[in-house]
Subunit: 529 residues, 2 copies
Amino acid sequence: MDETSEDVETATAPSTGATRRGRGEGRGAAARRAARTGGGAGSAMPFIRRKIGVYEVLDEEALALVERNADIVLEEIGIEFRDDEEALRLWREAGADVRGERVHFPKGLCRELLKTAPSIFTQYARNPARNVQIGGDATVFAPVYGPPFVRDLEGVRRYATIEDFRNFVKLAYMAPSMHHSGGTVCEPVDIPVNKRHLDMVYSHIRYSDKPFMGSVTAPDRAQDSVDMCKLVFGDEFVDQNCVLVNLINANSPMVFDETMLAAAKVYARNNQACVVSPFILSGAMSPVTVIGTLTQILAEVLAGASFTQLVRPGAPVLFGTFAASISMQSGAPTFGTPEPSLVSYGAAQLARRLGLPFRTGGSLCGSKVPDAQAAHESANTLNTTLLAGTNFVLHAAGWLEGGLVSSYEKFMIDADQLGMMQRMAEGVDVSEAGQAMDAIREVGPGSHYLGCAHTQANFQTAFYRSSIADNNSYEQWLAEGEKRAEQRANARCRSWLDNYEAPAIDPGLDDGLKDFMAKRKESMPDAFS
Amino acid sequence: MDETSEDVETATAPSTGATRRGRGEGRGAAARRAARTGGGAGSAMPFIRRKIGVYEVLDEEALALVERNADIVLEEIGIEFRDDEEALRLWREAGADVRGERVHFPKGLCRELLKTAPSIFTQYARNPARNVQIGGDATVFAPVYGPPFVRDLEGVRRYATIEDFRNFVKLAYMAPSMHHSGGTVCEPVDIPVNKRHLDMVYSHIRYSDKPFMGSVTAPDRAQDSVDMCKLVFGDEFVDQNCVLVNLINANSPMVFDETMLAAAKVYARNNQACVVSPFILSGAMSPVTVIGTLTQILAEVLAGASFTQLVRPGAPVLFGTFAASISMQSGAPTFGTPEPSLVSYGAAQLARRLGLPFRTGGSLCGSKVPDAQAAHESANTLNTTLLAGTNFVLHAAGWLEGGLVSSYEKFMIDADQLGMMQRMAEGVDVSEAGQAMDAIREVGPGSHYLGCAHTQANFQTAFYRSSIADNNSYEQWLAEGEKRAEQRANARCRSWLDNYEAPAIDPGLDDGLKDFMAKRKESMPDAFS
């Protein structure tokens, strides 16, 4: 096992229910073909193992500068851990200087604590073929997280429902280059706020077999997420392995609040992964500069990630970054601009130096519709995300309108782009077939390669085949109704949802999950705020 | 002078006519502000000096492999120089093995010849503030080249006219991050084919003061382009300096045809720059693999670029690459996919090893309209173009429908993206102001940065401000008419054209150019094919 990867199939969950595919299937020629062709719905696609290098924007001197400044922030300014006596006690016991809710960290303390955090780990799925590596040379794409609204297939912008939630789980299940089912793919606001996490976790388990995320909005909801996983994987397996990745946002600048601390404690205690993510709109939550923003991000991650190791040494934790700016004219968040890209590249470097898996980026945009603005902003963000060497990519598909909206059409457009990134990450084939000297000899000057033996042998997998792009002639495009990208995405989305087939599940497990949900729902009155 | 840049202002053209701006102006705070804000029309923007590194996809072993294989192609297969006895004679005299029209190159011959080609040179503009460096750490953006059609501001797709041509020259003049006026920004098909080059060159001189390109469709048209430049810059200056960059496409695979050879000879003889560009749709003009395509590109460039040195040692020449693929299902060209990106990254590495300035990329797409497809494909290509370290970027704005159409709306959208790339290339500020430690200390945990002193001092130039993106609230966007990106681009384009002001020109020069054109037009009957 080299330092950048691990065999994600070394352990298998003991009770994953029936699975449609054998272990390891989907890693071969069929999967590669799916990758190249944009994929039929449901084609198995492994997570990405990057064979291309990372792009870096900071030299050694700049990196050392940021680390030095972050140490100053940690020691002199400190980070607040709010409304959580236990957290403050843990920090005091660890040797931090706690004044009120402000924790000041002696130089080196956080880095010392983080030595127990794994740099690479496996998140298990109920179908072992869907297990993903988090960290090292792996990149894992997960859908949009958090929007209260959807833009539906009729073009209506409205509050999301549990039916929308299930639809996005189904689409993520069917998308070949979506490696993860994500978490709050949209907020199902038609279900009481204190109970919807049960339906969300159940939907991820029932309508997909890919790995997923747990609830972070209250400690009992986090525990429910873990407990439902125990029904799937078994108590002992969950205690020893990661089956949930969970989003723990810092309340930037320099604050962790009660809600996030409570969720982090539940997940760390259960040995589940926390993505400790400063939520940064530069100019509001951080300075207007790249280095200033990186300094604050590093300080916040050092504090938050090392906190998980205080709770349970060895619990998996990610260096998270959500990077955007605000318009200094209107205060509105902006996406896909150069400054957040520089922040993401730099943060990835800091994470690698810290030895933690890294999360940033996705397909972020501020546009209200899946137009050229949405695409430019998303593409700028996504190209950066890939080349930065990001390990876990939330919001990889479906994000619209600054994260207020989950868009069906944009999900399909983004998913196509994820396939391109996956192909890009395969890098360059230098084999004899890749060199194609026989083809060049056979064809020679002034001819063409369309019919030559090498082309015939390789054309089916030679190029990524977009499922959204129209490359036909203008005349043919006219004859077919002058469709724009989002109209083609709309038709493709309807077709996928019509043709969705749920992965098989053990009926006993399904009943167990339903019983659990019913009991938990009975145990409390509905709450809507 | 370091190895990656030169002082582009060391020489000044003697007779550039009146200029609106002093020499060197536009390099300071105003230009940086223009860059950050998306720019007012006409704001001066220098070319890009990249302060960020290049991204590379080939290791030393792969690079050496491609070079070895290209040498085999050159020696064993050979390159055809068609219908040009002089070219074949020059090659024979240089020691090549010429069999019919097929030239076989002894190992090392082309590289030896290329030792006289400059790795960095200046292209002069009639306004010295617009001079550009070609090569090294410089990136120069030029508009779309070649489309016979336009998609106009009424949304009509039709044949281009000289009025369209002038409009695109005006827009390129006004776009802050467009450093070059380009060449055939569209084909003015309303002017006889044997005379339109005169109107095109005149338009570049009269309606802009940025550097531009000459005609390559016939040797007398190339000579006319040079002769018109002599009126602007003086005979001796033109003989000693580059005032024209010219696109010499290889007729891939492995052929240079009579037309391109004739143009290359005229320009090289006059000491003007040739961009020797294999025109590659992988799968048709090259093998379906990245390494095979790179091998052929390198062989073609080695042959074509070294040919310019046979004609005139020391004449500037670029390593060009036009990388796209074809759909193996329909045969249609495809853009913005992963394989051409890998080709561009690899070709840039080969060019650097050869010590030649590099051209690739732009804002390429296959879409018929400026929708999400157009934007994704363009953004994937443009991000690659920047990070590859490309020196000269043709098709940086306005390209639509596989290069058949120059689009006004897409020009505006692309130009905005060029501003983002220019900002990105500035990299990270590690100064004390960039570190922003005062801001972090002032704000502290739980507050915000909106009003702090550091933000107040820096907010105007902190973030790139898009001229196309709408980042307002959904409600505001609704109230303003639910406009898509291309509608905003349309309005901005109309406003620019309404507000265009021509750069000043010496009346004597203008008369001289008009006289030259009139005499040349009188000297031959109109031709329309």
